[in-house]
Symmetry: C2
Subunit: 208 residues, 2 copies
DNA sequence: CTTGAAATACCCCAAACGAGCGATTGACTC
DNA sequence: GAGTCAATCGCTCGTTTGGGGTATTTCAAG
């Protein structure tokens, strides 16, 4: 268990929320919050040179959104952890946040005690999020349903690695003609008519 | 807040753990645990006809793994929620579990009180998981880095929808020659030499 | 100021591809 | 025992693709 002080910065446009959070965090043993910014631009100008561990980032900022700001800061400070704060969760902003490198995603009505716990979790390598948000994320992993046979899936996987008819045929000991037939069947099952689209659809549907 | 009793089944090969969990859960107000199975086969034979809301599924079962069992049961009972239990978390089994439809993923050393809370969360549509596990999942969303220019990305996206040179060219008002040049540059940047592999790599690296 | 990347456009050519045909075998279902 | 489907093998033909070049403009970074 680490016992050092965790250094936190806040990016939040609402003055009241920002000041309240700052006071709560900075007033708690083990937490320090000396930097708070009302917008993304000022945060981006300063944060990379500050001794910060975790950033609390509002998503709905004036000017550049918290997601944009996080994307930029993650480039220059990859080890910095970001916890996104938002009033309401919508799927798009959750996924965008995760894609740009956020470590946690919390609703603004999270109570202060929990917030501090979550900051600590992030600092220790975790990713706090409500179980409702987690459910949305893992739902994106579900496989819808797989119309392809085993052999077809095998062929498609090899195609996705850039092999052509002959190479696939050699790899799985078939005639190139058979491979071609499989591919034709794959196309018809996926309702596509090119390799590119087949692979795109197959990946999106988690078939390969 | 729902107040009905939550009906639970357990699949766990260790007799002691199974019996302990059953007693704890069944002995708690609002929870019922009348079914427990020592292996996947017996679970698969019975569960689909039982009045169950949530299944606690051990991953390391003798015979078929808990992941396999979950995959099968999710097909016949899509509304059933599964919480995977495991002694130690490795990335592969986490992702496999999520892909086959698990709703939660918990370590076996989770204390009983928390376990009950997590069962309730799943029942109410959440997906409990430790923040360490959540971190691993969201890390899979990170974009590594994007060598492609905007125009190239645009072209690659259109290619992934099955368009050929000419169609792409028409779509973005370019000469087919230019499209071809872009594609050649894409291939060289991604170190591939076919459309199929380019799309595969691009999706895996979240470029499109 | 110049080097480089990005975006644009063009040419040739051999190899690969997709569409359209047909066919046999074995397994599983109704 | 008729029918379906996966898996295997085969052919032709016209189109598309990928690799090899070359060249201009623009715009940002060094």
């Amino acid at each position: 268990m680490k016992n050092e002080t965790i250094h936190i910065a806040i990016v939040e446009d609402d003055n009241e929320i920002r000041q309240t959070l700052t006071l709560i965090i900075d007033g708690t043993e083990g937490f320090s919050c000396k930097y708070a910014f009302p917008d993304g631009e000022s945060a981006m100008a300063s944060i990379e040179n500050l001794p910060i561990d975790v950033v609390l980032m509002d998503i709905d900022l004036p000017g550049k959104s918290g997601i944009e700001v996080t994307r930029n800061l993650k480039k220059t400070c990859p080890e910095l952890d970001f916890i996104m704060l938002t009033v309401q969760s919508d799927d798009d902003s959750i996924f965008e946040s995760l894609c740009v490198g956020a470590s946690g995603y919390l609703l603004k009505d999270t109570n202060p005690a929990d917030l501090l716990v979550h900051i600590k979790e992030v600092y220790e390598g975790g990713s706090p999020m409500s179980s409702q948000i987690a459910r949305r994320i893992i739902n994106s992993f579900r496989i819808i349903d797989n119309p392809l046979s085993e052999r077809e899936t095998e062929v498609l996987k090899l195609l996705s690695h850039g092999m052509n008819y002959k190479e696939v045929a050699n790899d799985i000991f078939l005639s190139p003609h058979t491979v071609k037939t499989h591919i034709k069947n794959i196309y018809s099952k996926l309702h596509v008519n090119s390799r590119a689209e087949a692979i795109y659809k197959a990946i999106k549907q988690k078939l390969i």
